[in-house]
Symmetry: C2
Subunit: 492 residues, 2 copies
């Protein structure tokens, strides 16, 4: 076979697999938004059948031969092959181990949910120990002599290592702990919103926010779900939000966050659709888009000024007298146990803690029996508070129960990349705040699309950020941004 | 391999295939209800990829070996194998021919839509000729020396032949033509509804109607679509309806019709879910359920009396003074060119015409160049009216453009079976009208569930009807029902 024929065939197979992945992903969307509740068990069978189909395609020996034979016609083609080969390597876990992980984690999720409800760490630990043992095995198989945790991280953030993450996080931690202490020591106390905000009006404003941030409604839709998420690639990228009548920021910033994810997928060069490079390149780069939309842009002084006007127009009085006060309210820093409710100052401290703990678990330097104590000690050290119950501590996240080790750090990597991109964006666009103050995101999102989103998987994660910012990404811009922003709000 | 092991493996493979069929079917539901319009092209690729997966599974040589080796443990198992083998036979069309049919019909649908909009028969005929030639080939391959049209019918109505259908339809036609003439010659003219009926109120009543007819909302949902349909099996069976503010019957009777289809799928023995016998056994039996719900029950004097009260309560005055008058309005007979808008008297005449024409096309006794004249002559003969334009004649239905030959007669078979079931139901339940007059469908739908629905594909189409009614199904009950009903309404 000609090497170019092999390339064409690899791409044709990849295209069908990508189409089937979209179908499987939409089953997940349907489950969270529209599925009748009595269909849950049947849906499990449907998803398992789709997984079976996808696994067979990914491990098809014919694909291995073609990948061996294929030659790329150009640089983009080379990257396509590189990613296709990487996808295949990710399937190198022996079938028996993969099935055992699937079986145990599917049970573990239910056991975790029960344990969390019952505040029962002891009831969960044997299951967690099983998951950890299996994920260690998986990491060892994939690492082939290397670091098992790095091999797991590679699934979510290709070519990033635990040591590199540890270096950046290590530089961030003391400065964030210090910032946190100064903020909480300040005598400024931004007010909370008061009143009730009708679901209909929230949803209307959420839709307007999505439009303002460039969400393409002809290729997507917004629905309500328990946990907001974005789903799909290319021309069918759907987002969800949630509504709490007392807390409209929950709806608005969830929406903006998911629009960031969706804009990445919608913004990829259409020529890459349904190919290996036709998706966001890593969880970290994905999160950089959702975070810069949500935080650096959406929670900026300029943009919150515009949002304040919108909310006053639509909701009347809600206990906040000025745009300045509103900016502080949106960015209120509050101590708390729960990662998903954390503000910009606390969020990365939650992540760093989980990163250190899960890395130690995978490397074998921490055993599951010591995990709760390690969690609680670290929490006291970084947050100054004693964990009061397991659901506020070790049992709060679903991730470990379902085998997601190596995933947590990508949240903070996303923040870190968002910090870098924000710095470069400001340098390129001196008029940014004037735009934001008018609720005009077009230039900012256009810049992100041009610099990051359109490339999809064309460049490796760090490379796409480096190209966008003209240098190596690091933690300094994020730290500078956070320190300046919260110094201003809290008069530090 | 043990013959029982082979049976178990056939069933396991069938189960996964059935789950994947549900996934593919739900893509269709999504496309008609929720898909963003910009996703259409991508959706085509996703559906094609799913079709590829399903085709590979159905034609898997390993399945052929297993089917050869398998022995059924019991009668239900024997039926499972019989249907699994039949599904496999249906895939006997050579891949090249199947692909060519898929290619041509996918183009033909667009060409048909344009031709219909432009009233351009000549522009459509070459394409239709291509489709017909391909379907003749397919029929010939499947028939293996037998009648090609019978082979195509078998896809939708297993074990039914064109000759048997022709015999029943032949007995129906003159009596329906005569009934039609007498009705239209009557001086009674039931009034039409007047006024406007808000979409919200229509949808609320449609939901109440679905509930009354036994639709299980925990395993389904109701959405809006351009063309109402029912979709899915077992525990995820969704229905759609449409709303026209001037014509609430459109919404109500579409809903009841689709609930009939859905009740069949929801009513099948749960043990059969995701197996070959876990679906409605044929299009004709399926249509018998939708039609008896919609017509024999939903358009009965007793039930329309209840519906009249509901509508008066919810919509106030709408120009109909009494339940008697309302019954006549619901069942108004009106001449018209369009099949989908036809009343109970005209509907089967539309179908019989299409059946005779398509059978002649497949058998080669009618050529596509003569089709329009044949259509128009027949229409004049049976309906007494000259077709005024192609969109009211030969171009009105999508079916032939997408290759659906052998499908039309199942609509009238459904009506015919519904007539048989209705007669038997009345014999078993002397209190039926009292129930219907209270809007209480429980006993009637319970009877249908017990006699027909729960069996799924356990018995052949005619057998399940014969068991339900205690004899061979025929056209007499339907004719008797129609003649009596319309004689009463029109004072014949």
């Amino acid at each position: 076979m000609m090497r170019n024929d092999a390339f064409a065939e690899v791409m044709a197979m990849a295209r069908q697999t990508a189409a089937l992945e979209q179908v499987a992903g939409r089953l997940g969307w349907d489950q969270e938004t529209t599925m009748p509740r009595g269909a849950a068990e049947q849906r499990g069978e449907e998803m398992a059948a789709m997984e079976g189909v996808l696994h067979a395609r990914r491990t098809d020996p014919r694909l291995a031969d073609l990948l061996e034979a294929a030659a790329a016609p150009d640089a983009a083609g080379a990257r396509q092959l590189r990613l296709a080969r990487a996808h295949r390597r990710a399937c190198k876990v022996p079938a028996a181990l993969a099935q055992e992980i699937a079986r145990v984690t599917s049970l573990a999720q239910g056991i975790w949910a029960e344990a969390r409800a019952a505040e029962d760490v002891v009831g969960f630990l044997p299951t967690l120990a099983e998951v950890i043992a299996l994920k260690r095995q998986e990491g060892a198989v994939l690492a082939q002599g290397g670091d098992p945790y790095d091999a797991l991280v590679d699934d979510y953030e290709p070519a990033m290592t635990g040591a590199e993450i540890a270096a950046m996080f290590g530089a961030m931690r003391p400065r964030l702990v210090s910032l946190r202490e100064r903020v909480l020591g300040s005598d400024r106390r931004p007010a909370a919103l008061s009143g009730s905000f009708s679901a209909d009006s929230q949803l209307r404003l959420a839709r307007d926010l999505a439009t303002a941030f460039g969400y393409d409604w002809t290729r997507g839709r917004l629905d309500i779900a328990v946990h907001p998420f974005s789903s799909g690639s290319a021309n069918d990228v759907r987002i969800t939000t949630r509504i709490a009548e007392a807390d409209p920021f929950n709806c608005f910033y969830s929406t903006i966050h998911e629009v960031g994810h969706a804009a990445y997928e919608q913004g990829i060069d259409p020529d890459y659709a349904l190919t290996p490079i036709g998706q966001g390149v890593s969880m970290g780069v994905h999160e950089s888009q959702s975070r810069i939309y949500e935080n650096q842009l959406g929670r900026s002084r300029a943009f919150t000024g515009w949002l304040f006007g919108q909310m006053r127009e639509r909701f009347g009085e809600f206990g906040i007298g000025s745009a300045d006060e509103f900016f502080a309210t949106v960015n209120r820093v509050q101590p708390g146990f729960i990662r998903t409710e954390a503000d910009e100052v606390h969020y990365n401290l939650h992540i760093m803690m989980r990163f250190d703990l899960e890395r130690a678990l995978m490397q074998g330097s921490l055993e599951v029996g010591d995990l709760e104590a390690a969690w609680n000690d670290r929490f006291k050290a970084d947050f100054g508070v004693t964990v009061d119950r397991p659901s506020n501590g070790i049992l709060q996240d679903v991730h470990w129960s379902v085998g997601l080790f190596g995933y947590f750090p990508t949240y903070s990597l996303g923040n870190l990349y968002a910090g870098c991109l924000h710095q470069a964006l400001r340098a390129d666009q001196p008029g940014l705040d004037d735009d934001l103050a008018r609720g005009d995101l077009a230039a900012a999102t256009g810049w992100l699309r041009e610099k990051v989103q359109r490339h999809g998987g064309l460049y490796a994660p760090r490379e796409v950020i480096a190209r966008a910012i003209g240098g190596a990404p690091g933690e300094a811009p994020l730290l500078g941004y956070l320190e300046a922003k919260f110094a201003e709000i809290y008069g530090l």
